[in-house]
């Protein structure tokens, strides 16, 4: 990843962040009004992927670690929460938590191995681990092989929120997304987040300043894994299914695309990127395979022409980090 993409973020550390609150307000207002105009299930799908991309961005945008296996967290949480809700009869909130916890645990194991290496080796280790999870999901008896886990009950959250009602479900998904988004915002702007950025800029210097960079990287990795898991678990409840698509390596690639397109290392970028990609997949679906080609073209254009991504370029135009 080029350092050019990060420069935008550097002056942010002391300047006032009012405009980010304004941007957050605009985004939230959009999500509150959106279901009137846009089909809610599509919005929920986009929100799940937006959270996934934000979690991924936490790792690549703020620690500089390119994981190429994030689908394993999305998919594992999806399978575990689907299984918990369907077979163990968990209520949705517990099912989602179980899925998230499973992904966090997987994050600890995968992270402990992967953070020992950097750059392409880190990416390859995460990819290799994700492929193992893919084959596990394909073979394990409880995942239903290529059929996936179907007919997952949406259930009743906290005993009174009936999720079979589409709008109730939408508000729950929006709440989960905003929780994850704000958590990431908090992490990035905390002293802990400053250390992460220091590691991103120059790991040796951070080490020489006395930070145990491995610990910080592992914690960031686990947080990213858990939040990806939260997205995957929520998605399984929304779509009432967990399938191989979510653990396949193309999903790991898609999240890279979403983050790059929206703006690497920006707070709002991954949300915009996820919406653009999901909208393309939905509304261009009749073009079939062309969607992939269009995605590829957009990726090339993005890397060549505006490598800060949509939101990154917008932020540069406004001279304010978003």
């Amino acid at each position: 990843m080029t350092t050019a993409a990060y420069q935008i973020d550097a002056p942010a550390k002391t300047t006032t962040l009012t405009h980010q609150y304004v941007a957050f307000g605009i985004m939230t207002a959009f999500f509150v009004v959106a279901p009137i105009f846009i089909y809610p299930v599509f919005l929920m799908q986009a929100l799940c992927f937006a959270l996934f991309a934000c979690a991924f961005n936490l790792l690549i945008g703020y620690v500089g670690l390119l994981s190429f296996g994030h689908a394993m967290f999305l998919g594992t949480a999806g399978y575990i929460s689907a299984h918990a809700a369907k077979v163990w009869g968990f209520p949705p909130e517990l099912a989602i938590l179980t899925g998230t916890a499973a992904s966090a645990l997987l994050g600890v194991l995968a992270g402990a191995l992967a953070i020992r290496r950097q750059g392409i080796y880190f990416a390859m280790i995460t990819l290799a681990l994700a492929q193992m999870i893919y084959f596990f999901a394909l073979q394990a008896p409880f995942t239903g092989g290529e059929d996936g886990i179907q007919a997952v009950p949406r259930g009743i959250m906290f005993g009174f929120l009936d999720l079979s009602n589409q709008m109730t479900l939408y508000w729950v998904v929006l709440a989960i997304f905003l929780f994850g988004f704000l958590l990431i915002y908090r992490i990035v702007h905390s002293p802990f987040g400053q250390v992460l950025k220091a590691i991103r800029e120059n790991e040796q210097r951070a080490t020489s300043l006395g930070y145990k960079t491995d610990h910080y990287k592992l914690i960031a990795f686990v947080l990213s894994a858990a939040l990806s898991g939260l997205a995957g678990a929520t998605k399984a409840i929304v779509f009432q299914l967990a399938s191989l698509t979510d653990v396949h390596w193309t999903m790991s690639g898609e999240v890279v695309l979403m983050t790059l397109l929206g703006g690497l290392g920006t707070i709002f970028g991954p949300v915009a990127g996820a919406f653009i990609i999901i909208a393309m997949q939905n509304y261009l679906a009749q073009f079939g395979q062309w969607v992939t080609i269009i995605q590829g073209l957009i990726f090339v254009v993005c890397v060549l022409a505006f490598r800060r991504g949509v939101i990154g370029e917008l932020g540069r135009y406004l001279k304010k980090p978003l």
């Binding site: 089909y39 996936g148 179907q150 998605k235 698509t245």
Partner: protein
């Protein structure tokens, strides 16, 4: 895709949904063809299924009978979540009354769950899973053309009876492959054959040489291909390179479509035996229908999936006409009540579990010298009568059957 309909239509649809039970919702029977438009199943379903659905509407004489029929389509990209979200949008917003085709068992099972309990119906032609009319059967679903049980049973039993006693399996190493191998093995052993062994290969294998050599040296008369899609194509191609068929062994394919044979060419595919529900050259009526289909589909002959879409939609429209309603579960109930008849499958019926039963056929791919021209690929080995072709009603564990 017409997913981005304006809000007004959504509101109209929502009102219509509330009163749909008594009449045809928004005065249009809207058929949504949901299948693979671009990937590995695009040839065997794809646009051909859209053509077949339109032909069914025309042959039914919808316009003359005052029923407006509209056909829309979408690509599920072989992703269950895409399939289920398209289905939801179609039902919730776009007023689609019936989802048809949907190859890929994973997507079909997902759609089956979305349609269950809704006001729409699901007519599956392209998917193989026997669960659609088994444990996961639904009052809104009809499974028209074929399923794993029928394919395994038809192919295995007929081959054993024709003298192919010793079997060896080339199995894709995941749930689908294991299942298929198990089902076929049971049939082989029950019909007096013997399974000599099996070799498992990983999903999406490019190089089958070591597996094929094991199969070759097993000395089995029949090599059963318990795999699908690209794996089947690759194993057949490479088996030809190893001269397995010329060496006297026969390949038994379990999921083979006319378009696969077309893509493979008879040089490679000759001698392959498999079961299908339909072939264009069966009789005068299938020939006439297929000719009309080919004229509208770039000269390509229909696969059994296309034929199934035609048959299912035609029967669905008859039920809608009889009922004067397009409420999913009610139409499906009516479809089970009236016997089926169409130029493609002839006479048949839809059982309580949603299974359409009709004869199945065991074919063998011709040698290139026997073929008279393009699309002349199959010779009929055996007709499997409808009673034998499908899983008996009481063995499917379908909850609808127990209740009935």
């Amino acid at each position: 895709m017409k997913l981005s309909r304006v809000l007004g239509l959504a509101a109209v649809t929502a009102f219509a949904a509330g009163t749909a039970s008594a009449q045809i919702s928004d005065n249009v029977v809207k058929i949504g063809v949901l299948n693979d438009q671009s990937g590995l199943y695009a040839d065997l379903s794809g646009q051909g299924s859209v053509v077949a659905a339109r032909m069914a509407a025309e042959d039914f004489g919808a316009e003359q009978k005052g029923i407006k029929v509209e056909v829309v389509f979408a690509d599920h990209q072989n992703k269950p979540d895409v399939g289920s979200s398209v289905t939801r949008q179609w039902i919730d917003r776009d007023g689609v009354d019936v989802i048809v085709d949907t190859p890929n068992s994973a997507v079909a099972l997902a759609v089956n769950e979305v349609v269950r309990g809704s006001r729409a119906a699901f007519l599956n032609s392209g998917a193989a899973s026997s669960d659609l009319t088994g444990p996961k059967c639904s009052p809104n679903t009809v499974h028209w053309t074929y399923d794993n049980w029928a394919l395994a049973n038809g192919t295995a039993r007929a081959i054993v009876q024709a003298g192919g006693k010793n079997w060896y399996f080339l199995t894709a190493d995941y749930a689908f492959g294991h299942d298929l191998e198990k089902q076929v093995s049971i049939v082989v052993e029950n019909s007096g054959g013997k399974v000599l062994g099996a070799v498992r290969h990983p999903l999406n294998t490019a190089d089958f040489s070591s597996f094929l050599l094991q199969a070759q040296s097993s000395g089995a008369q029949i090599i059963g291909l318990a795999n699908a899609g690209g794996d089947t194509i690759n194993s057949i191609k490479q088996a030809a390179e190893f001269g397995i068929v010329r060496g006297g062994q026969k390949l038994a394919g379990l999921l083979i479509f006319l378009t696969d044979i077309h893509a493979l060419s008879l040089d490679v595919a000759q001698g392959l035996q498999f079961t299908e529900a339909f072939y264009w050259d069966l009789n005068d009526s299938t020939r006439a229908w297929s000719e009309r289909f080919a004229q509208r589909h770039g000269g390509k002959k229909p696969t059994m999936v296309h034929a199934g879409v035609y048959g299912a939609v035609l029967h669905y429209l008859k039920a809608v006409e009889a009922l004067k309603s397009d409420d999913g579960a009610k139409v499906v109930a009516k479809m089970k009540e009236i016997p089926t008849e169409d130029p493609v499958f002839g006479k048949g019926q839809v059982r309580a579990d949603g299974r359409h039963v009709h004869p199945m056929y065991l074919f063998e791919a011709k040698a290139p010298s026997e073929s008279k021209g393009p699309w002349d690929y199959y010779k009929l080995i055996r007709t499997i009568p409808a009673e034998e072709a499908f899983r008996p009603l009481d063995q499917g564990n379908c909850p609808l059957v127990k209740k009935g």
